[in-house]
Assembly symmetry: C2
Homo-oligomer: 421 residues x 2
C-alpha cells in the first residue's frame, strides 16, 4: 500500500512543482524493516513517532491500517499541528468523531478519500460535488470481496464456500475473511458515508450488520428468476427520526444499474433532492486505486484546498433508527414437505401478519433433505412490510407442520422506487 503511494507521490511532486506548488516526500516510517523501494532521498525509520517529531513533515500520510498505532499516530500528528491523510476506514468509523473534532480545533486538514471505496472519489463527490443537496439515501456495494463471491455464485452457480476459496486464491479475500464476508468492513465504510451524507457524527455502533455467508446458491438462482440480483449493499437513509444504516445482502432489481456492478468492483448510488440519483463505480481496493485517492487528498492540500473540516460531519443532534423500523419487501425461502396444503398454510400465515405475496416460485421436483425426508422450497416475494412483521411471520411459518426447517429471508432493495427500500 505504502509503496503505491510513494511511487505516485514522487511523480505527482514533479508535476505539481511545474505549477509552483510543492509536495515532497521527506520521511517514511514503517513498523517493519525498510522496504525495497526508492524513497528518493526521504529518511527512513521504523518508529512512527519519528514522523510527528520531525520539523520537515507537514502532512502525515497513514496507510498502516489497524486501530491502535494508527490512532496514536493521528493524535500525535494533530498535537504537532501536522495535517493528516488516511486510508484507514476502521480508524475513522470508530474514532473519527474525536479525531476530526481535535483536528478542527487545531485547524489542520484531514483527508479520508482512500478510506471508502478505494479509487472512486466518493468522499469528494459527497462533500464537494453534491454539497447543495439534501441527501435522502445512499446505497453502496462497498466490499469487493463480498461482491466477488455473490457474483461468482450468481454467474457460475458456485456455492458460498467454493466462491470464497476462489476469492482467496485470487487474492480478493483474506485468509481470514471475517471482516469482509460478515459485513464489518462495509459497515465501517457505511458509517463514514452516512456521516458525510447527512452531516451527522460517524456512528458505527448503530449500523445493522449481516454478512453474506447465509446466502445459498439456490437463493441467487431464484432471485435471478424473479428478476433480481443479490448484492452486498450498505444502505443509509434519512428517516423522519434520524438516520438508518444497514449492511446486508439485498435482492436488487436487475434493471437497476447497481445490480450490474459485478466482481470486485465497488459502486455507490446517492440520491440528492436537487440532483436526483447519481452513481459512482470503480475499483474498491488495491495499491493503485488507494494511492490515487491518497494523493488526491495531498494535491488538494498542496493547492491550498478548502478547509477540510468545513466539509466533515457536524456534531449535531440525530437519532439512529434501529433495523426494527425498516420496511421493505422480502424474499423468503421456505423449506416445506412435498405435500398439499403447505403453501396454503404459509400464505395464510403471511396474510395473518398483513403481508401480501408479490411473487411465488414453487418447484415440482422435491429435494432430498439432510434427514432423508423430501422437501420442496417455497420461494415467496412479499410486498413492502415492516421488519418486525416479517420477523414474526417467519417465526410463525417455521412452526407450521409442513415446514421442515429454517426460513431464509433476504431483504429487497427497491432503491429507485421508494425511500431507500
Amino acid at each position: 500500500m505504502g509503496r503505491g503511494v510513494v511511487g505516485l507521490l514522487q511523480r505527482e511532486s514533479a508535476s505539481l512543482a511545474a505549477t509552483g506548488r510543492t509536495l515532497q516526500l521527506t520521511r517514511v516510517a514503517s513498523r517493519t524493516p525498510r522496504p525495497e523501494v526508492d524513497l528518493g532521498g526521504a529518511a527512513f525509520s521504523t518508529d512512527l513517532a519519528d514522523l510527528t517529531a520531525a520539523d520537515d513533515v507537514d502532512v502525515v500520510v497513514e496507510v498502516i491500517g489497524g486501530e491502535e498505532d494508527a490512532k496514536t499516530l493521528f493524535a500525535a500528528a494533530i498535537a504537532a499541528n501536522k495535517h493528516v491523510v488516511t486510508a484507514n476506514k476502521a480508524l475513522i468509523a470508530l474514532h473519527g468523531n474525536e479525531l476530526m473534532r481535535d483536528a478542527r480545533r487545531a485547524g489542520i486538514f484531514v483527508g479520508i478519500e482512500a478510506a471508502v471505496a478505494g479509487g472512486i472519489p466518493i468522499i469528494n463527490a459527497l462533500t464537494r460535488g453534491l454539497p447543495a443537496n439534501r441527501i435522502e439515501w445512499l446505497a453502496g456495494i462497498i466490499n469487493g470481496t463480498s461482491n466477488y463471491i455473490l457474483t461468482a455464485m450468481s454467474e457460475g452457480g458456485q456455492d458460498f464456500a467454493t466462491a470464497l476459496r476462489e476469492a482467496q486464491r485470487l487474492g480478493y479475500a483474506e485468509p481470514d475473511p471475517t471482516f469482509d464476508v460478515e459485513g464489518i468492513d462495509a459497515a465501517h465504510k457505511l458509517a463514514i458515508l452516512a456521516g458525510l451524507a447527512f452531516g451527522t457524527p460517524f456512528d458505527f455502533a448503530s449500523v445493522h450488520v449481516e454478512g453474506i455467508a447465509d446466502v445459498d446458491a439456490e437463493d441467487v438462482g431464484y432471485a435471478r428468476e424473479l428478476g433480481y440480483r443479490i448484492k452486498p449493499l450498505g444502505i443509509a437513509r434519512r428517516t423522519a427520526r434520524g438516520v438508518e444504516a444497514r449492511v446486508h445482502p439485498c435482492l436488487t432489481p436487475e434493471s437497476d444499474l447497481i445490480a450490474k456492478v459485478d466482481g470486485v468492483m465497488n459502486a455507490v448510488q446517492v440520491r440528492g433532492d436537487a440532483v436526483g440519483s447519481t452513481l459512482y463505480v470503480g475499483p474498491g481496493a488495491g495499491a493503485g486505486p488507494t494511492a490515487s485517492a491518497v494523493v488526491a487528498d495531498l494535491v488538494e492540500l498542496a493547492r491550498g484546498g478548502a478547509d477540510s473540516c468545513a466539509v466533515f460531519p457536524i456534531e449535531g443532534d440525530w437519532e439512529s433508527s434501529p433495523i426494527g423500523e425498516v420496511s421493505c419487501a422480502h424474499y423468503l425461502n421456505v423449506p416445506a414437505e412435498d405435500q398439499p396444503g403447505v403453501f396454503a398454510d404459509v400464505a395464510q400465515t403471511l396474510g395473518r401478519h398483513g403481508i401480501s405475496i408479490e411473487g411465488v416460485i414453487q418447484r415440482a421436483e422435491a429435494v432430498r433433505g439432510a434427514r432423508g425426508s423430501e422437501w420442496v422450497p417455497i420461494v415467496i416475494l412479499t410486498d413492502v412490510v415492516a421488519e418486525l412483521d416479517a420477523e414474526r411471520a417467519v417465526a410463525d411459518i417455521e412452526k407450521l407442520a409442513g415446514v421442515t426447517g429454517r426460513v431464509r429471508r433476504i431483504r429487497v432493495a427497491n432503491l429507485e422506487n421508494s425511500d431507500g427500500e
Copy 2:
C-alpha cells in the same frame, strides 16, 4: 434554469451561514422581464451589466446560455475582479482558453461544474478526485437527447424520426434538435472534458463530430444480435502524438456498464493509470441537476476552496489526432442483391484491404427496396482496422455489382479491451 439556482442558493445560504460562511443572493439580472420568483430581497435588473458594475457582487453566476452576451458578461466580471460560475458549455468550449487565461491573471475563481453532464460532479471528479492519475481515455454519454432516442430505437424498435418526435413531446429534445442530434452539444462537452483530463487547452475545432440521424432501427437491432448497444459516445484519448477526440454513435459491448445507461441519463467513464476505470452516472440536464452543480461551485468558493485556476488546463503543447488516425472495429451494413456470390465479393474486398471479419449476420428474407428490387442486408463486424482502410474498403464495396446502395458504417467502442477503442 436561473429559478432552480435561486431556490437552491437561498437554502444553501442558510445552511452555510451556520458554519460561519456567507453566500448571499444580492442581485439578479435577466434579459427578459422579472420572473415570478421570490428573490429574497435581491435587486432585479434587465441589464446584465448591472451585475458586474455593482459593489455588492463578488461572484457572477451565468446561466443565460448562448455565446455573445455570456462572453461579454464573463469578460466584464473578470475586468471587475469578480469570480464566475457558469453552466455554459458552448462558451467554455469555444472561448474558455482566453477566459480562463484572463481569469488566472486576475486571480479569480471560475466554476464550470454545471457545463458538463448536468448534475454528475464530473468536473470535480476529474480535477479534484483523480488529479494523481495520468488519464488515458474517457468516454461519455454526454447528450441525453441522443441517448433517449437511441434507447427508444433499441427498446421500442422505433425509427429515428418517431423516437425524435417522442423526445420532443416529452421535452427531452428541443423543437430544433440540431445541436443535440448532430453531436455539437456533446462535442462542446467533450472538448471541455478532454482539456481537463489531459491538461491541454480546450480544442472544440479538433473534435470529430457525427450525429445519430443516420442510425437505422435495423442497425440497432443487428447490434443487439451481435451483443452490442448503439450509444452516442464522446471519446477522448491520449495518443502518441497528442489528443484524439470524437463524437459519434458507437457499438458498445452490452457487458460494459456504460452500455446499460439508458434514456436521458448521462455517464462518463474515465481511465486513469493509477485508479483504473471509474464511471460516473446521473442526470445530464434539468433545473435541479444544473442548480446542484452551480451551487456546488459556489459552496467551494465560499469555503475558501483551492485556486480553481490551478485545476484548469495548462497552456501546453499538444497535437490533435485527426479521425483518420483512429483505429477501431466497425459494424458494416451492406445492402446487397439477394443472389449468390455477393457476400463472397464483399468478404474478398475487405480481405484486400487487410480487414478480417469477426461476425456476420445475413438474413434469409429479402427486403423490398425503394426501387422495387429485392435486397438483403449483409451485416458484418470487422476486427480493429484503421479508419482510412475502413473508408477505402467501404468505397470499394459500394462499387460491387451486387451491392445496391450506400453502406452504413458504425464504429465499435471496445473501451475496456484496448486503448479507448
